[in-house]
């Protein structure tokens, strides 16, 4: 039996498995990387931290040959200086990248994906041999996977395993993970960590990118922090406290902004009330949210959390139950109906579902609000500009110009424009799906402040989030969703911790 995961070698005594020195890259006048050095050693997990746009992904693309650096050198042990001309080159050199968008072909089976790109032209594909080799790798890494299952039938976690297997099949020694856990369940995360630890033990050099501090803590040996394309710190993970890491990432102190008090909810009749609503994806969900209240929804991706929001926004049709707004029953057939009822949805996939990247801030702000900013179909430009400027000022949207195209704003600022849009429609119910997904640490604090302010102004907020610390920070109550049902809802008082929430969720899963 061939062993694809050989025994560990001593990491420190050898030169680094991969050494990048002075990597610089410019995109259309923007310096994405400025002389970055990075050493990756076998048998170590190296965490790469930084805000979005700090250069992490660009650096990984350089390492995987997707992007060619303008300056700098890459040296591989024992080959010496190398030029990586594309993913094909990188794979052949034993460098693999497991990214959020996996490069698997769903229609092909596991073995075919593992050996994708290994044959060329009209050569026959040695199926039997590939299948046997794939089996050998999977026996070591993921014994539960069959070589002939189409990848389309696999979940995210298994797809990642296939991606890792593909790298190992090429004799991979350096494997980068770019936010691998963002769509995994806690149990799947644990088994991924187990796999990463085994790869480490086998002497692989691992790069790990994540925004989740607890993961970095759990898995990393060393950490390198990038800010604005430069390395601001690098060293053993034990040398840095979490607060220090956050400061280094954001470039300023955040503790105060992050821990502001929640405003007390106003005792009032519910602003929005769900009475036993069901759709194709959820069943019998009942929930009432009062003015000034922030309710969080926790649960796995696919548990029905987002489907509850979709039902509240008229995207998914109700098959049962009813929705009341300020005591009156409403029928929500389309998002336009929901908008008229004073409901706002701030979707998770901002780029895909919330903004028009090529339109400017003013028009993105006015999107869908033509009732207010147009008369007889003609846009009231001056008035809309005035209102848009006011919101840009109030919400500290940067750059402070309503003429900037939306795609040139950072994630946090885009999110603020989307929120401003709904503020201008006079919405009283705000549905947030992962409000800080893909948003930098610094901007996160501002979004939290904004959510608190919305509540303080008397809006009702329903927030879906995968990040438990986020829910614990901002919510008054937290509901646990699984299998399309709202299983349990607990008060977020001093006694509630991440551990207890996870335990509650696990109990619901098993019941």
């Amino acid at each position: 039996m061939l062993s694809v995961i050989p025994q560990a070698e001593d990491g420190e005594s050898r030169p680094p498995a991969l050494r990048m020195t002075g990597i610089a890259k410019r995109f259309a006048g923007v310096q994405a990387l400025k002389g970055v050095d990075l050493d990756l050693r076998g048998g170590q997990v190296h965490a790469l931290l930084g805000e979005n746009g700090a250069g992490k992904s660009t650096l990984m693309k350089v390492m995987f040959g997707i992007v060619q650096p303008d300056e700098g050198a890459i040296a591989l042990d024992p080959r010496g200086a190398v030029r990586i001309d594309g993913p094909r080159d990188a794979l052949a050199m034993g460098i693999g990248l497991v990214s959020q968008e996996l490069s698997l072909v769903p229609q092909l089976d596991v073995a075919q994906n593992i050996f994708l790109g290994r044959t060329r032209g009209l050569k026959l594909v040695p199926r039997v041999g590939f299948r046997r080799q794939a089996r050998a790798i999977l026996d070591d890494l993921a014994p539960h996977l069959h070589t002939d299952t189409p990848v389309a039938a696999l979940g995210m976690a298994d797809r990642q395993l296939v991606e890792i297997s593909r790298t190992l099949a090429r004799g991979g020694r350096i494997i980068a993970f770019d936010e691998p856990t963002s769509s995994l369940t806690p149990a799947e995360q644990e088994s991924l960590f187990a796999v990463i630890r085994r790869l480490r033990a086998a002497g692989k050099a691992i790069v790990y990118i994540s925004h989740r501090m607890n993961e970095i803590r759990a898995i990393a040996d060393r950490v390198t922090i990038l800010r604005d394309g430069e390395v601001v710190a690098s060293g053993p993970i034990g040398d840095y406290s979490e607060a220090r890491l956050n400061e280094l990432i954001a470039g300023r102190e955040l503790s105060r902004e992050m821990s502001a008090e929640k405003p007390a909810p106003v005792a009032s009749a519910p602003v929005i009330e769900l009475r036993g609503i069901s759709t194709a994806r959820i069943a019998d969900v009942s929930l009432a949210i009062g003015a000034g209240e922030i309710v969080g929804l926790s649960g796995l991706v696919g548990s029905g959390r987002s489907a509850i929001l979709r039902a509240c926004f008229g995207i998914d049709a109700l098959s049962g139950g009813e929705i009341g707004i300020a005591g009156r029953r409403v029928t929500l057939g389309t998002p336009a109906d929901a908008m008229r009822a004073g409901i706002a949805l701030i979707p998770e996939d901002r780029r895909g579902h919330a903004i028009v990247p090529m339109m400017d801030v003013e028009r993105n702000f006015g999107l869908g609000n033509h009732d207010r900013f147009a008369s007889l179909g003609v846009i009231k430009g001056a008035e809309r500009q005035r209102v848009a400027r006011r919101y840009v000022d109030e919400l500290h949207i940067r750059p402070a110009s309503i003429g900037t195209e939306m795609r040139n704003l950072s994630g946090g600022n885009q999110q603020k424009v989307v929120i401003a849009r709904w503020l201008a429609t006079g919405a009283r119910v705000f549905l947030f799906d992962e409000p800080t997904r893909g948003i930098d640490v610094g901007a996160k604090a501002e979004i939290y402040a904004l959510l608190r302010r919305l509540a303080a102004d008397g809006a009702a907020l329903l927030v879906v989030s995968s990040e438990l610390p986020e829910l614990l920070l901002i919510c008054h109550r937290i509901g646990i969703v699984s299998g399309g049902r709202l299983r349990n809802i607990v008060d977020n008082d001093a006694g509630l911790t991440e551990e207890r929430l996870i335990a509650l969720a696990a109990r619901e899963d098993n019941s």
């Binding site: 923007v30 998002p335 919330a354 028009v356 339109m359 999107l367 179909g377 846009i379 195209e405 950072s410």
Partner: protein, 328 residues
């Protein structure tokens, strides 16, 4: 309003300066005009007839039919759609109009426009309501409408259009050919629509990000049906010019106009990726293609080769679109 420069530079501004993307935009807009001017210069150098005022007016006249269709096509393309049936709508509506002209000028015009409206509306409903792919729907109606035009008179052309009709759509006003004025008016109206109305913004939003537009409460179906209907009506209108100039309506009239219209829209800056386009640009696009044909004719290039040239220019325009997109 605070000066942008007085504020601390934010990450967003550092990461990707807005002026860069604006430069991309300018490049994109200017490249159309530059290309058009260069074409005029080249032909003027090669042939002294080309730049004579009478020939320039000829070019405008020849381009006007295409320009009117291209304006509608631009709106469609801006929603990330495509309308391949415009040429067949030209054929069908002009046949019906020619036939109905025997009942009077207004009857002819009304019937022709109504046919265009119904055809466009049908496209819109099939695409927006039944969610069928625009390319296939309009490829299908291209054949259906053409078939209907042939069935209408059993393939026979209709001769003898009324004088008023020909004066209206192929005459002159203040020495300017009416089709040119018509094209200018249509393009100007469409420009105002895109620039200053809610519908215009909704068109851009749908082309830029349909899902975001839907989730912000925009009625996608209505906007799309409206846009295809406009395209149909403008095709009908272009058909009037076609038959007025020839003096007869043929059931095969308008064949191949879709390529010209799509080409003009794209040359004029409309992006097949949606969300970007300018009806005035499509006017320049139509002029560019018209000048190309006119210039090649003056240089005695056989008309068969002109097809090749038009196709090459259209593909170049799409290539330029992709290229500026990547850089911008």
């Amino acid at each position: 309003m605070t000066e942008l420069s007085s504020l601390p530079r934010t990450e967003a501004a550092d990461r990707k300066s807005p002026s860069l993307s604006r430069r991309g935009d300018v490049l994109r807009k200017a490249s159309v005009a530059i290309g058009c001017v260069m074409l005029f210069l080249v032909f003027s150098v090669l042939n002294s007839t080309f730049y004579q005022p009478s020939n320039l007016i000829d070019i405008m006249l020849q381009s006007s039919i295409n320009a009117v269709i291209a304006v509608g096509m631009t709106l469609v393309i801006m929603t990330k759609g495509i309308d391949l049936s415009v040429g067949s709508i030209v054929g069908l509506s002009s046949m019906v109009a020619a036939d109905m002209l025997s009942h009077g000028l207004l009857a002819g015009i009304g019937a022709g426009l109504l046919v265009g409206l119904v055809c466009g509306f049908l496209n819109g409903v099939l695409i927006a309501r039944l969610k069928l792919p625009d390319f296939i729907v309009t490829l299908g109606t291209l054949s259906i409408f053409r078939g209907a035009a042939l069935i209408y008179t059993d393939g026979q052309p209709i001769y003898g259009l009324s004088k008023e009709f020909r004066a209206l759509f192929a005459g002159r006003l203040l020495d300017i050919p009416t089709p040119v004025l018509l094209a200018l008016a249509v393009a100007a109206l469409a420009y105002l629509l895109v620039r200053y109305t809610a519908l215009g913004e909704q068109i851009i939003a749908i082309g830029g990000n349909e899902e975001a537009a839907r989730l912000s409460g925009i009625n996608i179906e209505r906007v799309k049906v409206t846009v295809y209907t406009i395209s149909g009506v403008l095709s009908g209108l272009a058909g009037f010019v076609l038959i007025a100039r020839i003096g007869a309506a043929e059931p095969i009239g308008g064949s191949g106009f879709e390529l010209q219209a799509i080409g003009s829209a794209v040359i004029g800056g409309a992006s097949l990726f949606g969300g970007v386009g300018n009806p005035l640009g499509s006017l320049i696009g139509a002029l560019t293609l018209g000048a190309l044909q006119n210039g090649l004719t003056l240089m005695n290039v056989p008309s068969f080769w002109q097809y090749v040239a038009s196709g090459v220019v259209v593909i170049l325009a799409v290539f330029a679109d992709q290229w500026t997109r990547k850089r911008g």
